[in-house]
């Protein structure tokens, strides 16, 4: 196998990312174009940046592999990952922006007035961040194995190191343009090969994907298999992805860049369009994979489908170029998502953990942040090396389930219900976090899940842990209704009144 295109792509993307991170994007302007300087980030640009940060290894590699093996059922992953932004758009985006909060912990503190809720939220941010980073590093290992022939640990370590250098050297600043660029890079890296591969398939006279391989209707129809358990898993996945998006720490901080609530909504709308466009592509690879890469499905190495398909279908220089392109896209996906997550998790860790350790030897925000970033990256990186191999998209799905069971109730009740109290929030977060956390641990430790209902329930927990968290939050808040924060009415006015309305918000 020819490893040259993979090596070139990985080296190029790594160098480009490090260069941008080291030198930053510097905008020197003289007074003549002053007005440009005070212009805020436009919704379209911000939306591209959110797309760039959001489309991870799971979207880029995982979905195609799942579709190849399990068929139409798995389309719920891309559908849910897109539709999550619809829920965000309708219920959360604008009020969250108007609250003035930067992180989810900030929102929790502003709404409940309790630092305990804040601390608990910070713990959840770290947990979700680590769980989300784990499959990114695993996916990197798989990618480098497939394209460069390296052992799987090399990829995890390389991506971990690049992200660490990038984030701690100051690559955290002004990354909107970089992330926006990443979205278009990822889109191109899938769109161009997909168009060529489809053309090859059409000219080939090869069979229709539904007829290729076995299974036919079972593959092409949703819920073709699985019975009751399959139905449960599907609904649970829908709940996790629809409601989990709003609780992703690296996505939420991007909304702060919008100047006001209206811009936040516009941004979300554009994100919906961008993601909808992107997610059309992975299923195409999945379908073509049934025709040309049946042995991948048999061997279980489904996450490398997108990386190997161009080589399998086209030989020669064109195949090499396309392989290089998808490899570059995949690597960009790891780096951008991991950087965003590492910054979010590192920020929380530096605020709540390492700053306290460092401040004894003189206050230094930068040192604290670097320590936080190291922790944020090393822990999931090590976990990726020792954890068993799970499909990338499934682990990311679990991270969504945890987010849907914790931050979704907090955000929805916090924004739309005056009665939420600090004890209610704590109880709900604890129930949702412990429930979904236990399920995640169970699934990660024993991935060869049986078909028993216990394994099914724990394999995709959102359908029970999310309602449980909602109910607990509601019930405990009702029981402690004398502890409703005094400022809640004022806060609600602030959340729900457009900025253009003249109003005393003090």
């Amino acid at each position: 196998m020819n490893y040259a295109p993979g090596v070139v792509a990985v080296v190029l993307v790594t160098l480009a990312t490090l260069a941008v991170g080291t030198w930053g994007l510097r905008f020197s302007r003289t007074t003549s174009d002053f007005y440009v300087a005070s212009r805020t980030v436009r919704p379209a640009l911000n939306a591209s940046a959110i797309g760039g940060e959001y489309l991870s290894a799971a979207s880029f590699l995982g979905v195609a592999g799942l579709v190849l093996v399990f068929g139409a059922d798995m389309l719920w992953y891309p559908v849910g990952w897109t539709a999550g932004y619809l829920v965000l758009l309708v219920l959360v985006a604008a009020p969250l922006r108007r609250s003035g909060a930067y992180t989810l912990s900030d929102f929790a503190e502003a709404r409940t007035g309790s630092t305990h809720v804040r601390t608990l939220c910070s713990v959840m941010v770290v947990a979700i961040g680590w769980l989300y980073l784990l499959p990114q590093f695993q996916g990197a290992g798989v990618t480098l194995q497939a394209t460069v022939g390296a052992p799987t640990w090399v990829g995890s370590v390389v991506v971990g190191a690049v992200v660490l250098i990038n984030v701690s050297s100051g690559g955290m600043r002004s990354i909107t343009f970089v992330q926006a660029f990443q979205y278009w890079l990822k889109l191109t890296a899938l769109l161009l090969p997909a168009a060529i591969l489809v053309a090859v398939w059409a000219g080939d006279g090869a069979p229709h994907p539904v007829d290729a391989g076995g299974g036919g209707d079972l593959w092409s129809l949703p819920l073709g298999s699985g019975g009751g358990a399959g139905l449960y898993t599907t609904y649970s996945l829908i709940i996790a992805t629809f409601l989990g998006t709003m609780g992703l720490p690296h996505v939420v901080v991007r909304f702060y860049t919008n100047p006001d609530g209206r811009a936040a909504r516009r941004t979300t709308l554009v994100v919906l369009a961008l993601l909808g466009l992107f997610y059309l592509l992975p299923p195409i690879y999945g379908a073509l994979g049934r025709v040309y890469a049946a042995e991948l499905a048999a061997s279980g190495r489904t996450d490398v489908l997108i990386l190997e398909l161009p080589g399998l279908m086209i030989s020669g220089v064109l195949g090499d170029v396309l392989t290089g392109l998808v490899t570059a896209g995949a690597f960009a996906a790891f780096l951008s998502t991991s950087s965003g997550l590492a910054i979010a998790v590192g920020g929380v860790l530096s605020q709540d953990v390492t700053a306290r350790v460092v401040s004894k030897r003189g206050p230094s925000g930068i040192t604290a942040f670097r320590l936080g970033a190291v922790l944020a990256i090393v822990v999931p990186c090590v976990a990726a090396l020792v954890a068993p191999d799970l499909a990338v998209a499934r682990v990311v799905g679990l991270a969504f389930a945890v987010a849907a069971s914790t931050f979704c109730p907090l955000l929805l009740l916090g924004i739309w219900w005056r009665g939420l109290t600090a004890p209610g929030a704590i109880a709900g977060l604890a129930v949702g976090g412990l429930g979904s956390g236990f399920a995640v641990a169970w699934t990660l430790v024993d991935p060869a899940a049986g078909a028993g209902w216990l394994d099914v329930l724990l394999g995709q927990p959102a359908a029970w842990s999310c309602p449980a968290a909602f109910l607990t939050m509601y019930a405990v808040s009702r029981a402690t209704r004398d502890q409703v924060p005094a400022h809640v009415r004022r806060f609600m006015v602030r959340l729900h009144t457009p900025e253009a309305v003249e109003l005393d918000r003090g």
Binding site: A37, R39, G100, M172, P259, G347, S350, G365, R505
Partner: protein, 379 residues
């Protein structure tokens, strides 16, 4: 061993009298945070329970000069009578004792039979009363009521002090708002006038900039604004200064667009820029280089205002920031104080300077701080 035990214990916790003192001090410390907010129904409500523990009587009430604020203990049907007692105490200005005929009561076994009414005095002015109710009175109880009332008065006086400190900060902000220098107004208008014949379009533009600049600076409402608004005003200021100084004033701006929505105290960057322009123009070669940089550091943003001027003695700057009135740097100290009030002591100004090396002022602002929000409508 048996003999040693109690001795060890006594030396650790003190005798009965010591422990009673500790208990009293602890109870007092529980009441004081509420009282430090001043005398309101809310603060009275929160502190009165501890005051009754302190006095150990069946009931206690707190009033302002003419109505009840809070009641704790049994016999709450007497709350209506507290206002009359309060007015009497305010009239006489001293502690008064009321007995059963002042406190008519139909309830059998009601423990409220006598009342001791002590005035609460803040800066020689009676602001309310502490009323202690018991089934019998004693000289000891009167003394205790008096002492507690004196202690409460002390706490209220501290509250008054805190309030006046806040008022002072507000007054300083108002002063700062009105502090567009007369020289600046005069010089700007002069510069604009010089363009009226040669370049009427530019003169008109500058005049509009001048109008917008003054409108922003004189804005009356809102303690916070966005960094974008603040920079927009700085832009106008620099345009006007450049109209006057032309090539002698060089400005470089590097603003990360991510930090533009950050909430900052109103007029907290502009005074720094004005200082930088003044310093820069006094530079050796007569050309002022000003650079304004805003960077995104995840949870916070950093704003740096730098000039190539003559620099300053670091010790002098330190004294200015410490509030030394002899050093003429009202703007710097005021910005520093307001940043600390808004975001905590970690977020004061940092100034890097040395004689002959220019000055760089660094402002750090967290993206979110509880209680900090942009309240004014956009200008």
């Amino acid at each position: 061993m048996r003999v040693g035990w109690p001795r060890v214990r006594r030396s650790r916790l003190g005798g009965e009298a010591d422990r009673a003192t500790f208990r009293t001090l602890h109870t007092a410390s529980l009441a004081s945070p509420a009282l430090r907010e001043g005398l309101t129904a809310h603060s009275a409500e929160r502190s009165i329970r501890h005051l009754r523990t302190l006095l150990g009587t069946p009931a206690v009430a707190i009033t302002d000069t003419d109505r009840a604020l809070a009641w704790d203990g049994s016999g709450e049907h007497h709350i209506g009578q507290t206002a009359i007692l309060a007015r009497a105490a305010v009239r006489h200005g001293s502690t008064r004792v009321a007995d059963r005929k002042d406190l008519p009561c139909d309830e059998p076994g009601c423990p409220v039979r006598h009342a001791i009414v002590s005035p609460l005095v803040v800066e020689d002015r009676i602001v309310g009363t502490l009323q202690v109710f018991a089934d019998r009175q004693s000289a000891g109880l009167i003394r205790a009521a008096d002492e507690v009332a004196g202690w409460v008065s002390g706490q209220l006086e501290l509250a008054e002090l805190g309030a006046s400190r806040t008022r002072l900060a507000e007054a300083e902000l108002r002063a700062l708002r009105a502090q567009i220098s007369p020289h600046f107004v005069y010089n700007s208008l002069g510069a604009i006038a010089s363009f009226v014949r040669t370049d009427p379009d530019r003169a008109r533009e500058l005049l509009l900039e001048f109008a917008d600049f003054t409108r922003y600076s004189f804005r009356r409402h809102g303690e916070y604004t966005t960094l974008a608004e603040e920079l927009r005003s700085i832009e106008r200021y620099l345009l006007l200064e450049q109209a006057r100084f032309g090539e002698r004033l060089q400005v470089t701006l590097r603003i990360a667009p991510e930090v533009l929505p950050v909430a900052v105290p109103f007029l907290c960057i502009q005074p720094l820029v004005e200082n930088a322009v003044q310093h820069g123009l006094q530079a050796g070669d007569g050309t002022g280089h000003i650079s304004i940089v805003a960077r995104d550091l995840d949870q916070e943003c950093v704003i740096e205002v730098e000039d190539n001027g003559a620099g300053d003695d670091p010790e002098k700057v330190r004294r200015a920031l410490a509030g030394d009135a002899d050093v003429q740097s009202f703007g710097l100290a005021n910005v520093d104080a307001r940043l600390r009030t808004s975001f905590g002591d970690d977020y004061g100004l940092a100034v890097e300077t040395a004689p002959g090396a220019g000055t760089k002022v660094i402002v750090r602002v967290p993206k979110f701080a509880p209680g900090v929000q942009v309240t004014g409508a956009g200008a």
